[in-house]
Amino acid sequence: MKSFPYLSVLTLAPLVGAVVVALLPRSRPALAKRVALGWSLAVLALTIVMWVAFEPGGSRFQFRESYPWIPAWGVNFTFAADGIALVMLVLTAVLVPIVILASWHDAEGGRRSVPAYFALLLALESTLVGVFAAADVFLFYVFFEVMLVPMYFLIGSYGTGKRQYAAVKFFLYSLVGGLFMLAAVIGLWVLGGHTFDWQALTQADLSTGAARWLFLGFFVAFAVKAPFFPFHTWLPDAGGSAPAGAAALLVGVLDKVGTFGILRYCLPLFPEASRYFAPFALTLAVVGIIYAALLAVGQNDLKRLVSYTSIAHFGFIGVGIFAFTTQAGTGAVLYMLNHGLATGLLFLVVGMLVARRGSALISDFGGAGKLVPVLAGVFLLAGMASLALPGLAPFVSEFLVLIGTFTVNRTVAVISTLGIILAAAYVLWMIQRTTQGDLNPALSSVDGMRRDLTRREAVVVAPLIALLLVLGFYPKPVIDVINPAVTATLQQDVGAQDPTPTEAAR
């Protein structure tokens, strides 16, 4: 069991599935959808087996495999997973089949190929798994950049509204960030002894100045991806134009690559630079929380609103990472998982509403709860998860982040807490304007609004709701996996010590 090459199979399997689905004829869309769904469920099963095989108390990196690729440069196909990566892999594997099921009818009605849509989703899954599983910096960079191509086509070809503009903006922003990272990767290779192996590079001796420049190169790329203010302007456009399923993957998993990258590459490889730039990063994160939340309150487009909320949530994750305590760090990683589930659910529900109404504008809704009560109820639950209601999973992570930050940086913690109030504002107001109050007369004449939650849609939302509830009450299994990895990152790599509680210090 242990020696099975989980990670390389997990990376390649969706890609093979993508090729298979892409080769299916355009005239048989139903077959393409079923093959894609089945394939992604198989990948999910393998991921669950891997989760069970992972030993939380064991070595930091498990499932390690390495195959030579470009010996002239010291590049290998090296895969390994620690707790953080494992959680991200599970998130990806859980979200993709749900997204495929949710997007069952999204690609129809246009002149675009339906098999191509699902093939792009599977190809995207492959690159996402590769990004999280890579333990070789060159391999990470390859997946980081290749990830852009399927998402670009998903937004540009299958999106709505200003989809070309949104797709180009997304691609260019990410590419620019990635190019800065390329310079940093090459610099790291030159200064780190001509190796790309992550483990070896953590031992490399870099001069302070060089380490700071390299940190900045990586950080810019991850800050664009996450996104942190002020590199965030691509996300509302991309999230607003992408089809709902792709948008759920965009904010649910793709953006996590940014914060994962900070945890895996910025902090361990450049610990002194991380501490040097921490105040700057914390400032960006906190500004993001408040600014994005305020912008979210004022949005009239449902999908753009959810995108702005995502930027605000990522501010929290950034605060959690740069507070350099294990509580905050564990909270941040848990936040990544919970945000993926919660905002993924929110985006999918918004997608269902938009598909029924034919418009994403809040002003086109109003009192929809009278027509589609069950869907409105799910919408409410997703909203509650977004604002971190206790009992749902995001509360645990937000609480951990705030506690972990309060002990070392009160100002940041207090300002971030204001973010919770703003979150309540944008979520509750959005729900009220769309599903409560007087019924908008325009709604009753729309056919789609008469159909409440279908069975397929129920199957889509049920696992996410279940996970949110279970993890809201019993997050221990996940925290047990995350904590050792975060502790290792912070204590071994950055050298940060948790502050002793005031009682113990007395």
Binding site: W69, V142, E145, V149, L172, L179, A183, I186, V190
Partner: protein
């Protein structure tokens, strides 16, 4: 009175590739004279391809050789053989494009260049006459000259080779079947500016001879260390020689000819120039800088560094506003010349091997990209205005997909050869561990960002736009164009996913004979 004139030893095996090509070119001229018109095309293509394949076989069999021959005027060493092989392979691919007659009756070349453009006879020849077959011996002369250019061990041989390969190219640029005035203008511009550049090159040789007393590259190296003559001669000579070479590689500010010539020349010739001329010119530049002028590194590096920066930025910025696909690819080719200069400037073994890898990888991609340009056509010939490419992805997903792959390679997306080659030159630049390298890499990264925009615009046009009435259909490629495309796609993918073997090859070959 009994002094015997000793013939210098001649290593025929080392010279064989060039001799084969020049001989085949002469045979081609004879074919023009004696073979009936109806059978010329087949005969010429057969002779040309056979000669190129034979030359390639001989080059491969010489691997590992390091000799100078003909009294030290030709040096056949690792880089020379590798670049000659690259020129041969790229020449074969380009020749396949030149030989294509399925897209347009009679091919891409004019039937009789002497016919006045725009006249009735001209319209008649454009419609149905088979194209001039002189292009094949001309191409063979050009390829042979390029091979000599990268193997030249003294400056005069280099000059002769420069002229031997440039003059046929000037002619080839003027032989388009359609839009003949544009083509003739391109040929004239190339000829005039090229002659200026060659004149600079020659004058530079004279100045360097004045400084060093010799034109042999290794001897110049010794003279640079030891000569007591005025250094002004050395630097002025080096500057002028560089001007001549930088003109050929389209480095700024000597790049002005490139967009007009690339746009006006028949597209197969454009592909040929974009790939093979770059390989040849950079090969000569590398040899001159690494073998002769290594001692003046710290003097020429800042100047060439500025030129590299200018080239990368100008190529990228000017590409953004282009509306013609051939001009866009021309400016992209200028920017790519800048990236190659980054590798050249690192003046190390890694620099040499990364430069050679870049030239090979870029050559395959660019020839195939121009092959795609030949396929997008309507009744009046090629549709090169970008607006005509809107919605092409809907009409012909395969060809659009292939072109997207090439654009991704130019943009440097991983898993394509473009990424590996960019990584190689930037790594060589940073490896040199000096400030110049760091600045060059930063400018290179910024230039890549700027260049991504026009590439993306073409992708958006092809895939995300609706086809207009003006969108032409993509012609079915003939067998030769299909072969050229297949080679391009394979090379772009293979060199991106498994670049190891070729990287090792360039690394092994990266040792100049001094």
């Amino acid at each position: 009175m009994n002094d015997r004139f000793e013939l210098p030893p001649i290593d025929y095996a080392a010279l064989a590739p060039m001799l084969i090509l020049f001989g085949a070119a002469c045979v081609g001229v004879l074919i023009e004279a004696f073979v009936p018109r109806s059978r010329r095309q087949v005969t010429q293509v057969g002779v040309a391809l056979a000669a190129l394949v034979a030359a390639l076989v001989v080059i491969v069999s010489q691997a590992g050789k390091q000799v100078t021959t003909i009294g030290g005027s030709v040096a056949v060493d690792g880089p020379a053989l590798l670049l000659q092989g690259a020129i041969a392979v790229l020449g074969i691919v380009a020749l396949l494009l030149i030989a294509e007659r399925a897209l347009e009756p009679g091919g891409a070349f004019v039937a009789q260049a002497a016919i006045a453009a725009g006249s009735g006879a001209d319209r008649q020849q454009a419609a149905r006459e088979p194209g001039a077959t002189e292009v094949y011996p001309l191409s063979l002369f050009a390829i042979g000259g390029m091979m000599l250019f990268v193997a030249a061990n003294d400056l005069l041989t280099m000059f002769v080779a420069l002229e031997v390969f440039s003059l046929p190219l000037y002619l080839l640029c003027g032989l388009a079947r359609r839009r003949r005035l544009l083509s003739q203008e391109a040929a004239l511009k190339y000829f005039l500016l090229g002659s200026f550049a060659s004149a600079f090159f020659l004058f530079g040789i004279a100045l360097v001879y004045g400084f060093a007393g010799t034109i042999d590259l290794p001897d110049i190296h010794a003279a640079v260390q030891n000569s007591a003559n005025s250094e002004v001669l050395l630097f002025a000579g080096l500057a002028m020689i560089s001007i001549g070479l930088l003109f050929k590689v389209s480095a700024a500010p000597f790049h002005v000819w490139t967009p007009d010539v690339y746009q006006g020349a028949p597209t197969p010739v454009t592909g040929f120039m974009a790939a093979c001329t770059k390989v040849a010119a950079f090969g000569a530049l590398l040899r001159v800088l690494y073998v002769s002028f290594e001692g003046t590194q710290w003097n020429y590096k800042p100047v060439l560094g500025v030129i590299a920066v200018l080239t990368m930025l100008l190529g990228a910025i000017l590409a953004v506003t282009q509306t013609d696909i051939k001009r866009l690819l021309a400016y992209s080719s200028i920017a790519n010349a800048g990236y190659v200069l980054v590798g050249v400037l690192s003046a190390t073994r890694e620099g040499l091997s990364s430069t050679m890898f870049y030239l090979i990888a870029y050559g395959f991609t660019v020839v195939a990209a121009f092959a795609v340009v030949t396929l997008v056509r309507d009744a009046d010939g090629e549709a090169t205005h970008l607006s005509r490419w809107a919605g092409l992805g809907r009409r012909s997903p395969l060809v659009s997909g292939i072109f997207t792959l090439f654009l991704l390679a130019f943009a440097g997306i991983p898993l394509t050869s473009g990424f590996v080659s960019k990584f190689a030159v930037f790594a060589a630049g940073l490896n040199a561990q000096d400030d110049l390298g760091v600045w060059l890499v930063i400018v290179g990264v910024v230039s890549s960002m700027i260049l991504a925009f026009p590439y993306l615009r073409v992708v958006v046009l092809m895939w995300l736009s609706e086809p207009g009435e003006a969108t032409p259909s993509v012609s079915l490629p003939g067998a030769t164009t299909a072969a050229a495309l297949a080679v391009g796609v394979l090379a772009t993918l293979l060199l991106g996913v498994v670049p190891g073997p070729v990287l090792d090859l360039t690394n092994q070959a990266a040792e100049f004979l001094r």
